[in-house]
Symmetry: D3
């Protein structure tokens, strides 16, 4: 039994509220247990320099944590004068994940920026950000279709992400902060609705692990992703 | 009649939700119309260098806007590598406002950091941040009293803030973004429950204004502050 | 009686020397007591991006203090790698003040940059900077008229600034550093020759103050501004 | 057949030259085909703040590319004023990889910094850096044992890294730059001599991939790692 | 005949005004023709970390140019966020020059910071800064002796600096900006009253030059330095 | 006798390996004793803004030290967030030295960037960088001629650099680190094959020196430069 009473293969409760921003072309507030991430999609009618005049678009992401989203207050990155390595790693991950299910030719020569800001953190902020960013992106693409800026959606699949870990020898799904900080292995999976693998990042914090442990975590992840994509479908249908 | 149907001396609807953060010692989400600010208070048991061994405490504030809190997406300050002049000006203002109603000797040698993050902006973010920061500070001080870290509250008064402006010759209370961006004069008032003045910042965006216009705005501000302090009282009583 | 023997409503001696720079299109060295500020106006035949092709011009300001302009040496901002919040706040204030009395359409699509560098500080550097910047701007605009770059001056009024404060309960005009650092209330007024208000910034350093105290300070400020504008007129006539 | 004539499961030639630095406590120049990385290990008798007085040590890594290590010259990060996201991601990866096979209690309260500088790049710089960093670390630990600073080596295993990819549907081992930039999937594996998994990073650049493709790449990686560890053994025996 | 009517071996007029700062322990405004530099010496009772507990002191220098000290306005380094290479080169030069004639053991464990700020530039700002910094340093050391902080002056000699150049084949002394920007060779000499060489920096801007040209410039420099040291003596006697 | 057994006028062994980079248009690894510098020349078909449409080219240089090229590890400048004053001073020197022997009109509107990265340091890194940079530049210019981008070489002379010093009263050629750090005078000479002087930088670290000491160092430098240019000729003939 886990500290919060869940089974090893049980996700935390998922709540998604869409259209939370008056200004953004797509937005949601996603809550996975006590991890809360505000995701917005902003459409810009210009692309990075290397894509100019290619008729192709771009998806990029930025990630941030409010200073007191964490147990101890963290220093504001704007005050520190730079984004840390962890932040940059995460926003690169979010961008890659969303680009993998977007046909950039259909999107056309425009950019969608996904801002994922953690209002409250309790483990799994990067995976929650990916799952929520998909929804914001979905709504923004829906708007582009609705306003006839593009003829059909550039999205080729749902995509979601979840973390797994090995805790006292046992594979666990969807770690909270306490579990995450004591887990021997930390794994993040980004998978599509059809079971395709978009990204796997597995790290032994302490000592190497075995292939069968890896396989067990992948299996748990598939289970969690199914639930997340169901929640995404509901949130996208609301529009 | 104003574009959103309000009278000249009418505030936008005020909603305050307290204890919105699992981690912070005090917190609220304050909404003045479509301006939404998340305020947290973090207690740290250390003070800036110049206060060490003085038995006096410190209150400081940080302010940020989520990139898509605005109509057009703004560049993330953490990505830009520095906080802009406007941000620094605002967070200095918030800090001064809250220190003016805090007895730093009673607070003792500790620091309370007030983080005010704008989730959605529609004019008046700095005044809304001050009004909300007071509530987060109030709860944090309540916790210090409750845990007997200090014997009584260091807060000497409620304090709130509101903006006024001159729009087409007429003084208006609590400008929204559209009004603010076309107003000839922009004024921010920070006042206490007893009518004391904490800070006045009045700026002619375009051409100089007259003393009687100033007096009219101050009168409007007193009216608005009364309503804000009533809402603060309710939010503080909830604890 | 004040520490330097002045009456409550008495300004420090004002000295203004114009055309102190071989290179700048307008310049002065202004001394208000022991506060000395070197002000230059530089005309650039290009405007910020948002004004391109609008036929409108721009006025902006930069402010700096030499490291040993102060009693204790301050760190050089260029060495620190950024301009502090106070510096940014002041240069934004100077820019707004001068724009308020400039018709940017008459100025035409060019920019005037006002550099205000404090050679020696003894309180009131930001207000002295505004008063001096006006003179540098006046000369630069005169040059534009003389060289027929523009048909008439874009300046619509003189503008000057002065500080006031409440010291031991008494309103004082034109605080020096010692008075400023112990005053309960600190106020800066930017006024035009016709008595128009351009900017008011009033701050209670310690505890809230009353409206009649505010009014008393405004009255003192009007008196000081009259003398400053007289000195400006003399300095501008010299050209 | 690959563009450089290799089989799908064939590594590029591996050359390792040790003790290439007069100053460093451990060093090597590792060449995997045309990718050349200079690795040094520097022992410092102090640890990061959070480890002080814990009797535990730390391993950290820094990574850099010489500006013309690449086909087109890249901007020098020191001139740009910051390390990019890719650099930070890589040096975090190298640090984790080496810590996973080090007993930090045996190392004692000291830090070993692994500098991995790419002199010439042709794909696989991060994996080559890990493989080379191990050798530099091995020599530095050997020196600590030899000088009796510690009683036995803190290293619990050899560790090496290799990249794989899916290129035109076929899994390939040890991609060069040309292959890497056109591969559909990019995977990096960090494995120990005993087959333990330290880190897996797999990314679909373009579209999701399947689990059996993943398994095929892991198998190739095991084959490559065997050869790399054999080369490491030889290089470590030379000391 | 030179453009300003001087002979090849003729200095520009030298004016030195001392005690120009109310706050600094030593100061002067030095004018060599139209080059004006404000120099202050600040005594701090602490030294850089590497000198702590050595009973030795330190002399360091900082250099800056006001934005409109030059013909075209230069960007403010504080706004640019860093000191340029030229600035750093110059302030390192000033510091070395002054340390070379200071006995740091006699100075004792304290630091003197020399700030040299160019108010107006017309060539030779770095050499003028050195000549002026000596005077500020002299007064600061005099103050230390007078207040019995040290028993005797740590200064072992006067030191001054001057520039020379080769212009249309002819060696010239003390170049102004116009000459400097068209000279084929640019040389800076830092010499003591006794003729000792402290620093020589000679650069061929365009093509290599000959040893006899170098010797001719050194001879000119000695002549100019004699006049500068005479002016320094007068300025130091004034105290 | 010197600590490494050399005569006062004896250079350290010089080894030059050319074409060490697969990518760069010119490159060498130059070793002067234990000082090892990797030099690359990168041709870019664009010039800095101020040279656009002038048909003239540009030569610039960048310099860096690997963190553990030194006895104690130095902080990586990319991690520190800026290039230090010493680095900037050196790369400006290298650029000037190479431009002095290049006809920028013949080079045409393109830029050659010389990257000099110190792999191992033992004194004289800046002079070794200049000597090596010449070779990389020579090969790059040869390539431009060979590919008929330009009709003939823009290089007008060989150029090399060497350091000298006064150590215990005796002039020494080509100081190693130990000698350099204890020398009373430190001098760097950049000379051409025909004996022309490109740059002289002489600094008294401790106390002023005499003209005859300067002359003795210049004579030693001429001797060393002869050997360096002989080595350059051999390295350039290899191409």
């Amino acid at each position: 039994m886990r500290t919060d009473g869940r089974e090893a293969d049980q996700m935390r409760p998922i709540h998604i509220q869409t259209a939370v921003s008056k200004h953004a072309e797509g937005s949601c507030l996603i809550q996975c247990g006590d991890t809360h991430v505000l995701c917005t999609a902003s459409i810009e009618e210009r692309v990075p320099p290397w894509l100019r005049n290619t008729r192709r678009g771009w998806i990029t992401a930025e990630y941030g944590m409010l200073p007191r989203s964490t147990g101890d207050r963290s220093r504001r990155e704007a005050a520190a004068g730079k984004q840390g390595g962890r932040t940059q790693e995460i926003q690169r991950l979010i961008g890659r994940a969303l680009r993998s299910i977007t046909d950039l030719n259909i999107l056309g020569e425009r950019q969608i920026i996904l801002d994922c800001d953690v209002l409250q953190a309790d483990g799994g902020t990067r995976t929650t950000a990916i799952t929520g960013a998909y929804i914001a992106l979905h709504h923004a693409c829906g708007l582009l279709v609705k306003t006839r800026a593009i003829s059909r959606t550039p999205l080729t699949s749902f995509v979601a992400a979840v973390s797994c870990g090995i805790h006292q020898g046992q594979p666990l799904l969807d770690l909270n902060y306490q579990e995450d900080s004591t887990a021997a292995v930390d794994a993040n999976f980004v998978l599509t609705e059809k079971g395709g693998i978009v990204e796997i990042q597995t790290t032994a914090e302490d000592k190497p692990f075995l292939e069968n442990q890896f396989t067990a975590m992948l299996e748990l992840a598939r289970k969690g992703i199914d639930q997340l994509i169901t929640a995404q479908r509901d949130a996208c249908a609301l529009d």
